[in-house]
Symmetry: C2
Subunit: 244 residues, 2 copies
Amino acid sequence: MKDENSPAKPGTLYGIGVGPGDPELITVKALRIIAACDLVVFPEPEEAGTRHLAFEIARRAMPELEKREFMGLYLPMTRDAAVMRVNQEKAAQRIMEQLREGKNLAFLTLGDPSVYSTSGYLHRLVEEGGFSVRIIPGVTSFCAAAAALGEDLVRGSEALHLIPASGDTAEAMGLAGTRVFMKMGRSLGEIRALVEERGLGSRTRIVENCGLENQRIWKSLEELPPGEAPGYFTLIIVKDGERS
Amino acid sequence: MKDENSPAKPGTLYGIGVGPGDPELITVKALRIIAACDLVVFPEPEEAGTRHLAFEIARRAMPELEKREFMGLYLPMTRDAAVMRVNQEKAAQRIMEQLREGKNLAFLTLGDPSVYSTSGYLHRLVEEGGFSVRIIPGVTSFCAAAAALGEDLVRGSEALHLIPASGDTAEAMGLAGTRVFMKMGRSLGEIRALVEERGLGSRTRIVENCGLENQRIWKSLEELPPGEAPGYFTLIIVKDGERS
C-alpha cells in the first residue's frame, strides 16, 4: 500500500545534446530518453534567432514533443559571468523543484553538453543539490561543419584547437594544427585581421548556422564579401599552413 | 526502354560516423543512410580488439545489418604514412569499382569521420576519382568520455585542444585550457611523466574503451595503478590548472 505521506523518489536530470541543427543528427539515445522523461526543459536565451533552438531541433526530430509538458528556462547568453551564474542558479532551483516531485527531466542543449554549453554549471549545481545527473553526448557543430564542407578537420599527428569567441583568439591563431573558432559572429573582424596577417585566407572556411535551413558556407576568407556579417552561430575553421 | 549497354549512374560514397561505441549513440541520419545503401563498407585494422569495431557498433544498432551485403577494407592503423597511403589507395580502388556499378556505399567510421579517422584521405581519393562523397557526422569519443565522467570539457572562454598520440604531446601539455590526448594506450608513460612534472595528476581523467562493455574510468592519475596498461582506445583529459 502506497504511503501518501512518503516523499516521491527524486527524479534524474538528463543533460541531452540534440546535435548541431539538422534534426536527423540527433542520436537514438537522445530520442529514447526525451520520450521517456516526464518534463522537457530547454534554455531560453534572449537573442533573436537563438530562442528555443535546442527545443526546435528536438521538436522537428519528434513532432509529438509539441503535445508534451515542457518548460523554458531563462538563460541569457552573455560574457558577464555574474549574470550567467545568477540565472543558472535560478534555473537549477526550478529544475530541482521538479526533480523533488519525482519527475525525470530532459534538459536539451544544442550540439554536445560538454562543449561550451550553458548546461555544465547547471548540472553541477543540481548534482550538488543531491540529485542524479546523466549526460547524453551529441554531435558537435564543428564536426557537422566539417561534414558540410566535405573536408576532415584533423588527421595523423595534427592537433585540433577549439577557441570560443571570448578566448584568446590571437594566441590560438599562432598554434600549429587546425583551429576552430566558435560562435564568432561578433568577432569576425578580429579573426579576419589575424588570418590576413598570417596569409591564411585560403585555408579558412566559414560556416554559418550549420545544419539549419539558413546555413551558409564560404570556402575561403576571400569568398566572404567585405560587407557580409554572419550571425552568432558562425564557426571559422583555419587549417594548418603546412597542410596540403 | 532501358539501354543495357549504357553505363549505370555512378553511386555515392557516404562516410558515416557511427559514434564512439554505445550503439544508441548513432544518429537517426546514420541509421537511415546505412539502411538505404546497397553495400556497407568498413575498415579492417589488424590490431586485436579493434577489428570491425565500427561495423560491430552499427550491427548492434541495427541487427539486420548481419544479413546485408558488406565488405571489409584492409586499413591497418600505423604511424607509417607510406603504408597507410598504399592501403588507402587500394581501398579507394575497391570502393570506386562498386560506385562505378551504380551502388551507393556506406563507409562506417568510429566516432566522427572528420576527427582522426582513416576515412579522410580515402574520401579525398574517391572524390578525385570523380565520384560524389557525402559525410555524416557522428558523436566523438571525447564528448562521450566527458558524458561518462559527468563533467564538461570546456566552458566560457576556455580553449579545448585535441592531441593524437603521434602529436607533440609535450608542447600541448603546456597550453592553457583543456587538453585531450587521444588513443593514448601506448603513450601513457609519456603523458604520466608530463602530467606529474606539472602537478596536474588530480586534474587528469582517463577513459578506456568509452561506451563499450569494457569501459574503464579513472578520475585522477593517482587512481590508476602503476602496473595498469590501458589499451589503444584510451583517452586522457587534462583540465586547466586554473580551473576550479
